[in-house]
Structures are given as C-alpha cells and as structure tokens.
Symmetry: C2
Subunit: 320 residues, 2 copies
C-alpha cells in the first residue's frame, strides 16, 4: 500500500510527539510557534547523520534514530543548555514502515527521557540522511562557550574516552576484544549517552566546554584556540577502559584521543571549583576526571607519567 | 589541495555571514546563542532540498543556494513572521570550491535581502542534500496559522500560479513556450521570490495562511482541513500567465493547481478587510487576487465562469 509523507508524519511521528506548554503550534503548520520563557536565551544546533559515513548502511534503525538525537543532545550538553525542542529532516529512499517505526522508537526513547518536543520537520525521498535541529534554553548569559577557558583552569573530561572508536576498530578486525566486552563497547558506539544532566550541572562551575565528537586531541584544541591558550594534559590520568590499556601506546592514544564519537564533555573550570566538581563525579552515572590544566601558549603538550612531553597523534575525523 | 570542513565553514560561510545583535554567539561553537526579543514568539521551520528530486543534478549552484533559502523563507512568510536566523546542514559528495562559492552567493543574496543571519550548521560528506532550518519572530499571538479560516472569509493568492510547473513542463518538452517567455519562467522555477513582505503585511488582516509548495489544490485543502471548512474557488479569477491560458483546460489546471513550486501565499481574510487588502495589491511587486470564499462543508468546489462545479485534478506532489 503506498503511504504518503502526510501519513508517515501523522502515524509515525505526530503520534509519538509529546506536548509541551511552550509549544503554541507544533507539527503540521508551515512553522512551529514557540514561546521562549522570559529571561532565557535560545540555543540552536544542527547535526546530520549520513548513511555510510556516520553509521553502516545496514545499521539497526532504532540505533540510527537514537544516535541522531544523541549527537544533537550532546551539543546542548556542551553549552550547559536544557534541550527543549527539535525539528527532524528525514530523507529516505523508500517509505519502509518497519524501518520508520524502529527509527522513531529509537529517537523518541531519548526525546522522552529529556522531554524534547518534536515541533516540525521535513520528509523527502532520496539517499538516507537525517538532520536534526535541536533547540534549548539557558538562563541569559550562562551558556558555556568554548572561549571561556583561562590560564590556570583545570581541564576535565566526563566518562571514558575511546570506547566508540575501540568498538569500531574491533568491528574492522583491527584489534581483538572479548565478546563480553564487545557488547558494551558497541552500545557506546551505537547508543552514545549524551551528558545532558552533567552539562546543566556544571553550568555555573565550568569556564568553557565542548563535546567530544572528533576526539579529545582535536576538540580540546577548539577550546584552546577560542580561549587563546595552551594546555598540558597528563596522559596517565585520561580515563580509558582496560581493553584500551592493553593495546600498544600508539594504537591506544590514536583511538582514545583521535577516534571520535565519544560524546563525552571536555571542560575547563577554575581551580576554586575543584572540590565541588570532584564531589559531583559519579552522579548521573558518569565520572568526571581532571586530566590537565590550561596554560599560556598554544596547542596541547601531552605529558607521560614522568612529566615528559610525548608525541601523540593529533588529528580528528575530516570529512573532506 | 585538500580542504577541511573547518576551512569551508570559515572561508565560504563565516566570511559571508552577517552579524545581528540578537546573536550572542554565532557560527563556531557547539550551538548558537540567541536572544529572542521580549514579547516575540519564535517560529521554526525546516526544509530539505535533495539533488535529483527538488532540482536537477546539474543545476546551477547559485540557483540551488538561492532556492534552498527561498523555500524556507516562504514558510516564514506563510506564518506572517519576520525571518531572523538560520542553520545550514550541507551534505556534499566533494568539497568543490567553485560550487561552494556559487552556492553561498545564491544563499546569501537572499539572506542579505531579508537580513537573515547564518548562526550554525553542519557539513558532511555524502550525496548532495541541503537542509535549512529557519527561525523567525512574530509579536506573541499574531502568527498566521492554517486553522484560522472562518466560513464566509475571502480566499486570496499572491502573484500568478503555475509559472514554475509550466517552466518544468516546457523543459520536459511537454509544451512549447517562446524562448523569450521561457527565461522569465525558468527564473520563477530556479529563483522563486518568497513573499516575506506580503506575509508580514497581512499579519493583522488575514485569518489563515499557507505557502503554495505542492499546488493550490492540495495546499488550500490543508487550510480547509485545519479550519474545518470547505471552499468555493472561481477558476476564471485564478491569476495565471498568458502561456498557461493558451493550453487546453486539463493541462492548464493540472499545472496551475497541482504543479507545485509556486511559493506564492494562499490566505483567507474576513470580508471586512477586503478594501484594505485590495489597496495593498501590487505592493512589493506582487499582486493579491481574491479567488473564492470559505464555505461550510469540506473540500474545494471549483466553479467555472457560469458558476458550475468543474472537476479538476487535485493531487499535489507526493514523495512516496
């Protein structure tokens, strides 16, 4: 039975969309009408996932839906924002109802968790591609920008780095992982957990923040460039899983620092906030680990256990 | 020379992006930070253009950039909104600098005209696809929804209908157009002029509004369904160009009512506003034509010059 885009929007998406009393008019008009609460600033970010680039062409539809929103929520987390609304631009080769329902289940699992309302979107026929625009709010003036890092600030990361890239390396046969371990690694690759609660929690404690999508080496550099500063990072303090520690150093740091797809947060904070941040670690199921400090100069000096500068790979994923 | 996505964002887009004092933080962080003025509601809409579906794969890059924004601005016009900000998600097979510069020239021609600030986006490698999310504002409570039409209201359209679909038909060899005429028709197909000024001007005069992307037959029906009403439309009053009048009736109405890509506005308004709306016609280079009225019942009755119901094609473009 042929199914129109209007049927899909109604049956697959509108039926799952939650209401929100700031949404004056949601799905189904030429644009959504939203009431941004007084005193709040609007945060906006857009991310696209392309089949064959960001996930395997045969990827599980639930995972694709989940990850499409996760990467966008991660951008809200990095700004210390409360995610609120999203639009979905979905381009599909064909209207496969099973695929669409699983995709929507994955997407709305996260949307419900964070109470993000789907307010509009676009459905078109073409090569599979998913673009979500997410909108959130912060009290005016409290968004965490990349440019707020100060010389002397501590540098932190959430969770463990390199899990997703280790999973990918294992799928490619580049390293061996116990099948037990592989399951939890694949979970990290396919269903990254955006650090939304942590982002909001560090809003008034951190000075700058970014989410790790391209890898620490490349993403921390964005903070440093925006903050006109350099950094020293102590390699032994970087939180990595035992399976990564088992690899040789070059492979280990290549995955942990440059592999991408971590969707953890990297942030800087004044030394004065160290105690309260350390007390927060472990909340919301995610540790916070201090890994270095902001310095004068430019670039990152990676230090080994003896405090000696160590050369490590330093490039993130490049699309072109 | 390989060029990274960061170079493209900097050289092609950031260099052309305008500033806006409501944009606290624009391109280059994890999200944009925007100050929505007090008393204004936020309008959000997303549209995707896919190569081979919305334009020919060999289409001129300037036109692709222009039309990508035009279709989004048209959604803001349909809500009576002032367009303000946008994000751009661009997926490209390769980073061709010439193509990118022409695309950006087309996009920013319209962005500058309507002072729309590019505040963020995403650049990825993959099949060519362009998704713009546009944001605008209206004074709280004044957005024109589809649901506001009332029985007795007049129905209007802006401009002339069927120009773009006539251009397309002529390109496909389905009808013959003088080469002189074809140029101005192609202009309508490739560079539609969104009715932004008209949309804002009718904000307090119209009761419901939609932009014509799928064709009047299908789009007016959206207003009627949302407003729980029917309509009578007088075919002889529908503004169409001489080249369309020259076609046989079936072909003429198929193009004018179902062809799509008009990006004109269709709106309803109380009879009391007729005089002031007729006085506005011709302003901003676009006529406003009264074509019928909202009635009880459901669906559209198309009437010929004798007031007799006439069967006309009634389906818009379907993606699936």
């Amino acid at each position: 039975m042929p199914v129109s885009e209007f049927d899909i929007i109604q049956q697959v998406f509108k039926s799952r969309a939650q209401s929100d009393n700031q949404v004056i008019c949601g799905i189904g008009d030429d644009a959504a009408v939203i009431e941004v609460p007084t005193g709040q600033q609007l945060l906006v970010s857009t991310d696209t996932l392309v089949s064959g680039v960001h996930y395997f062409p045969d990827a599980n539809a639930f995972d694709v839906g989940f990850k499409s929103l996760a990467v966008n929520l991660s951008d809200m987390a990095a700004m210390a924002a409360k995610p609120c609304w999203m639009t979905l631009a979905l381009t599909l080769p064909e209207a496969n109802q099973n695929w669409l329902n699983s995709f929507a289940d994955g997407l709305f699992t996260l949307a419900r968790k964070y109470q993000v309302a789907l307010v509009g979107g676009n459905l078109a026929q073409g090569p599979l591609s998913i673009t979500i625009t997410i909108m959130g709010t912060v009290p005016a003036g409290t968004a965490l920008l990349r440019s707020g890092g100060c010389v002397g600030d501590d540098i932190y990361v959430t969770g463990e780095l390199g899990m997703a890239s280790l999973a990918l390396a294992s799928l490619k046969g580049e390293c061996r992982i116990s099948s037990n371990m592989q399951q939890s690694l694949l979970e990290r690759l396919y269903r990254p957990q955006p650090r939304v609660e942590t982002g909001m929690q560090i809003r008034n404690l951190a000075s700058a923040c970014i989410d790790l999508s391209d890898g620490l080496a490349s993403d921390l550099l964005h903070i440093l460039q925006a903050s006109s500063a350099g950094a020293e990072v102590n390699l032994p303090t970087i939180p990595i899983t035992a399976s990564l520690k088992a690899l040789n150093e070059q492979h280990r740091w290549s995955l942990a620092l440059c592999g991408g797809d971590d969707y953890e947060l990297c942030f800087t904070a004044p030394v004065a906030n160290r105690t309260v941040l350390e007390r927060m670690s472990g909340q919301f199921g995610c540790n916070i680990t201090r890994i270095g400090k902001v310095t004068t100069g430019a670039g990152i000096r990676w230090l080994d256990e003896n405090g000696l500068v160590k050369p490590v790979p330093d490039s993130g994923y490049r699309h072109f």
